[in-house]
Amino acid sequence: MKGKEDLNQDKNFQDLLVACRSGDLERVESLVRNFATPINRTDFWQCSPLYLACLCGHYNVVKFLLENGARCERKTFEGERCIYGALTPKIRNLLSKYKYSKAVDEIQPYRQFFSQLLERSFDTLSDIIFKLYVSTDLTKTVEIPAHRFVLYARSTLFANNFQTIWRTCKVIEIQEIQIHPSCFLVMLRYLYTGEIGLIPEDLTSNMIQLCNYFHLDNLAELYSVTDMPFTKIVTQERDKIELQKRQQDFTKFFKNVLLGGKKYFYTDSDDEKDYKNSLKTNNIQNGINEEPKFIGIQQFAQHDTCIRVEDEYFPCHKAIITGRSEYFNAMFNGPFAKAQHIVTVSDLNPGIFALMLEFIYTDKCDIPESVAYEVLIKADMYLLDKLKSLASIVLTSSLEPLEDIYVLRRTAVDLNIDRLEQWCSRWFAEHLNEVLEDQRFLDLIYESAHSIQKRQETDTIPFVDDLRYWLSKKYSVFEGDIDKKSGRVDDEDITAWEAEYNSTLEKIDQILLNLNLDA
């Protein structure tokens, strides 16, 4: 499954490169936004999408790529190459004045979410306050608010303490060591975002002391290296590692703690015994609107709300679910917000909900093929666009439809998922002979014809156009050979495939005639 995804990404990446060459901004947008095509990868010849766009002089594409996190660092090979390769001075200016770090922070919503969570911790439902003593004046304290679940997820020490000595604390006073507030903030920032902030030299020892105190060994190590190589390349590499580490931490926290180790879908890699063990619910229910007593590790989830789906209870953190989903934001922060601790979401399978939560908490989601369609529908319903693209990627990575092809095609149109729609059209083109007689297929053509309101004679039928396109691909018909008027290949020496192509078109035309449509 992993391999397939990679393969798919490869194809997307190739598409992205082509789109960058040709300056097809829409395609670039769709590939980056919907399919999360890696923007900073390079191809066999070390060309990045940004480089190609610069070389071919597509200002708008360059701008889009930069805004979406494409890197252009002067000191790197790729960066220099972009600047020297830029076709116009306008592009060169754009490149040289764009600040990489800022762009990335603003663009990557997930990372941005955490940095906002920290920056505005007072109004983002922080549930713990750290009290630090100011070293110069011991009567004064600095209060730093934070979120328990972030710290729990990211640090073993915090997790242990939250389970034991700090279990009921609202305010934690740190008296054992003197901590400079800015050091503490840098540490928090690291825990929240994975960023390694710069510390003034005179505070380094304090920072190391702090890291040791909280058992953040690798962070302490980073700051102990006296001449930290803070070049941008190294920073970027390390940032990448730290980001991955953070995502792993949250995934672990989510799967083990929030779900209490429960698995909703059986996969090949799972040990069957584990899976079955995990199936029993970890909570004891009291009444329908009362919070169940979580047992096992779930009781340490540090949650402040609880969502019931069918008979399952999910401990959740308002801070993250309201911040990452408009739907939950309206539910918890809007005028409908209620005091009650428990919220029920109906008409939903707990497994699907668990996947949704996984996406909300970790920004990624392993969607089993068996539920991809269901996830797609729910992602649409709860307005989780990125999850929607993830699901559609799963659906379109399969060779055969994972759901009834006619349903898929209609859903694609209804939910406006171009990728899935194209995939369906392609499938129909491949299997045209099997479906040609099927009434359901005829219905689709009919629906597509009527999707355009006040259709006129000259308007085409989008579905049929797509079919023709994929047919021409199937029979390897050269675009230049197609007669514009008839759509047929109109050549002296026609190949067997081209003949077959022509006859297939004949059949479609016949269908259209039967349906009383003209296209």
Binding site: E326, Y327, A330, M331, G334, P335, F336, K338, V343, T344, V345, S346, D347, S370, V371, Y373, E374, I377, K378, M381, L383, E403, D404, V407, T411, D414, N416
Partner: protein, 762 residues
Amino acid sequence: MSSRRFQNSADAQFTDNWDRLAQAIREIHKKNASILSFEELYRNAYNMVLHKNGDKLYNGVREVITQHLEEVAVAQVVPAFPLSGASSSQTNPNGAGGANFLKVLKCVWEDHTTCMLMIRDILMYMDRVYAKTANVPLVYDLGLDLFRDTIVRSQNYPIQNHLLDVLLQQIKLERENEIIDRSNVKASIDMLLELTDASTKDTVYATDFEHRFLDTSSEYYRVEGQMLVGECDAPEYMKKVDKRLNEEEQRVRHYLSQTTEPKIRSIVEEELISKHLKTVIEMENSGLIPMLRNEKMDDLGRMYKLFGRVGKGHDEMKSAISDYIRELGKAINETVTSNSAAEGSNVASGDKQTGASVAIRWVQEVLDLKDKFDKVQNLALSNDKAFQTSFNEAFEHFINKNPKSPEFISLFIDDNLKKGLKGKTEEEVDNVLDKTITLFRFIGEKDVFERYYKQHLAKRLLLGRSVSDDAERGMIGKLKVECGYQFTTKLEGMFNDMRISSDTMSDFKDYLDNKSVLEKPKLELSVTVLTSTFWPMNLSASPRCNLPAELTKACDSFQRFYLDRHSGRRLTWQSNMGSADIRGTFKARKHELNVSTYQMVILLMFNDLQDGESLTYEQIKGESDIPEADLKRNLQSLACAKYKILVKEPKGKEINPGDIFFFNYEFTAPLQRIKIPTVASKVETEGERKETREKVEEARKHQTEAAIVRIMKDRKTMDHNNLVAEVVKQLQSRFVPNPALIKKRIEALIEREYLERASGDR
């Protein structure tokens, strides 16, 4: 696994879903939202949109909201209409009805927006999926539009009229210093700002309210302007206008839209300032001129600030102040002419002291006036350059109206450099001279000034009257800065002559020391050799005078000495410029007298007389051969001034032919050394003036010709008009040449064949 439901049950489900939603919206309107479940409602709306019933849902919501708003209009808004209807709301003096109406409207608006936020949350999916593809406004915006059409611009009830009237009335009340509840007004205004007009895409505030507000304001201030102009004096008026402007600005800041600020400001400015500019400036006893007269800097400053807001304000002020300056200048000029007319009648009696004091008083008055307006400029007009220019023009105008101004200014400087400096510090001197220079700048005929200045400087230098060499040089430096190197070369030459002469004198002394006693003159002689072109003396008309033999001998000895050293030069004695120290024996004691050369000549004549003998005027005149005017002046200072060395019969201030003079043995004075002042002719007599004038004209002719030749040498060919223009340009730093004069000079040059007409040109 598919969650898609199909059409068979869709209709039933639609009705079911919609009933629940409609009911929920009604509950929201009833503020019963707490019984509702967001999760369920969201799902209902989602299902409807998913099953292609987005349009039905959308329209249904529209209907429910409209219906509710209609009910609100009837049940809440209409009953709150101010009692006696909009038009007669004035009968309700404190506007309580209006305030209440606004309060109700505020409540209604707040309720509506709260409800809409909840409805928006429920219908989030509809907004995202249906509204976007169907290209209809998002549900919250729909709510705003419905509110606009059902409440604010209701077709059924005159809510709009009432609202606008009440708002305008509240503002009017506040303008009349009533206290109103700004928060209510602000709420309504904010509401209008949030609503959008469908056709113009502008806010309802802009389309419905703003122009009416501006119209009423315009009317209000028109009336107020007329009333205030009638009631208040100018400072009071301006204070009120200032207050009004501040009030309106505050009002906009507190509860109107910032976009209105420039508009209302320009209305107040138009109605209260532009329309009454002239009236306020010309207000009797309190307008601009009285303010200037009484130096009301605050009021002037306020006027400057206020009038600067409108287009013509400063222009009007400028021209009014300039006129005033011209008027004051004219008055100063008139006192001078009336004084000199009086002087004219006194000229016969030789009272010339008055003349100089007239000049000094004139300059002093002009300087005072300048000071005054500099102060105004500085304190009230924030040193506005445009005002400065127009003031300067006014000064230039009246200063050049007085033909004697160059002489007067030169005299003023003379006076200051001669004695005025004594009690003053160097800074003060510098200050006075700097100011004088500003007056000098205004003079058109700078060459005339130069001539006078040269004369006065010559006297100061030769008679040793100048107080400080530094001050003199400072003054020349300032002139140089003003007019350039050429203007002062001659003046500097004069200083040079003085220096060379003192060297020459020490050489002459050495020369005499080597001579035998016989050859040595019996008196000490000090000579200043002047280069004739630098100095203002007239060579050809060098005054005759019979010097005593002793003196002639000494002069000859110097002449020999000098001409030995510098062959080819000619010396002419200017006896009218010299002075002498002589010893006189009187009855009481001996005195050393410092007298002019002429006085010395006169006094030496009495040496030959016996006690009691006398000389007549004619005898003195005949023997000394001193020119009559000088003779009279010198006799006057000997016989009629403070120190009466001679006694005159008959007594009197004037010297007349036939007078008899005796030596006054009885003369006493407290000091041993006495300086007999010459009654100096300070202001020129009419005759002298005419002479100076002629000299100036002559000099101008030469300068003009020189300029013409210079230009033509450069350009070779030039048409007449351009040539005249160029000449004017070159000469105007010295004087303003008259085109007729230039034309004459060109003709003269053609006649003398320096120029010729271009061939082909007649």
